[in-house]
Amino acid sequence: MDNEIRSQDTICVNESKLEHKWYHNGKYLAVGILFGIVFVKAEVISWFRIQEMFRLQSFHMYGVIGSAIITGMLSVWLIKKYRIKTIYGEPITFTRKKFSKGQVIGGLIFGLGWGLTGACPGPLFAQIGTGAVVVSVVILSAIAGTWVYGRFREKLPH
């Protein structure tokens, strides 16, 4: 039941039976730090780079996203082919994503916000890290947007 609600409108749900101490999450912190460094050094979190992308003035962002997807695809293919397990020996699982109208309507709404703020959710956190503290207003508004979606979810076409 819990997993059923958690899996609504989200792509990242998994159910591990293993119990870990909280500090095991440190490895995700480490991946996040590396990821954040790449974000800033490649200027992926730059409002200007995003504007260039949406004006077809630079290949940079297309190169970043495109090569990230190809790397991800190869990795997932290898993980499936060799049935690679997690470091705890658990199988790695994938869930099929169901189509809904939300991917079109919500996708367009997200895109409008992306073009405006020049950032998707990941870069927002890195931007604050670089000292743009005012971006916290964007994050709080994004949380408000998520809440309003949750509140009116049943009334929206899916």
Binding site: E43, G113, S141, T146
Partner: protein, 188 residues
């Protein structure tokens, strides 16, 4: 040129892209976690303001790894600016620089345009629409779509999920519409 100076330069796409892509197997192998960031916004709602809304009634403690991940992203941004900052000004396309100059945006030294992203600007309609309005659209849209650029464009496409391709195309379409049709009107 020594290695530190080289690292301080902006990284090309063919270095950054594969590194970002490697986040996908890293999270899978470390604990069967699926790369996605916007879900954190939902966990924030579930933790702080669940308000008996069914969509927010779940055990958010099971998703705590995701919080560690975004805290890491924050520190990554902080560490890079503190120790690995590019000493040169950011290069941007001359046509964009020219267009932005007509809106009074001339400071390209940061990741976000300082002349728009500042606290005083929040007192203007333009600033509220950009920061609060833009954030709202990002949060509402990503949850409605079931994920953001990380969950759909990178994780979803890596797993060859066609609904993620639909979402990614709509993300791009929305961005093109905003940047070319609405933004010039809003900034001008």
């Amino acid at each position: 040129m020594n290695i530190i100076e080289l690292i301080k330069q902006p990284w090309p796409w063919y270095i950054a892209g594969p590194l970002i892509g490697l986040t996908v197997p890293a999270l899978l192998i470390l604990g069967n976690k699926h790369f996605g960031i916007s879900a954190n916004l939902r966990h924030a709602c579930a933790t702080c303001f669940p308000a008996n809304i069914p969509f927010f009634q779940y055990d958010y403690k099971k998703e705590i790894w995701n919080l560690f991940f975004i805290v890491g992203i924050f520190f990554g941004g902080f560490l890079t600016t503190t120790f690995l900052a590019n000493p040169l000004p950011v290069k941007i396309h001359p046509a964009l620089a020219q267009e932005l100059a007509t809106y009074g945006i001339t400071d390209f030294s940061n990741m976000v345009p300082r002349q728009l992203f500042n606290w005083e600007n929040l007192l203007s309609l333009r600033g509220i629409l950009m920061l609060a309005g833009g954030g709202f659209l990002v949060g509402f849209g990503s949850r409605y779509a079931g994920g953001c650029t990380s969950g759909h464009a990178i994780m979803g496409l890596s797993d060859l999920q066609w609904p993620s391709l639909v979402a990614t195309c709509c993300f791009m379409a929305g961005g093109f519409i905003m940047a070319n049709l609405f933004l010039p009107f809003l900034l001008g």
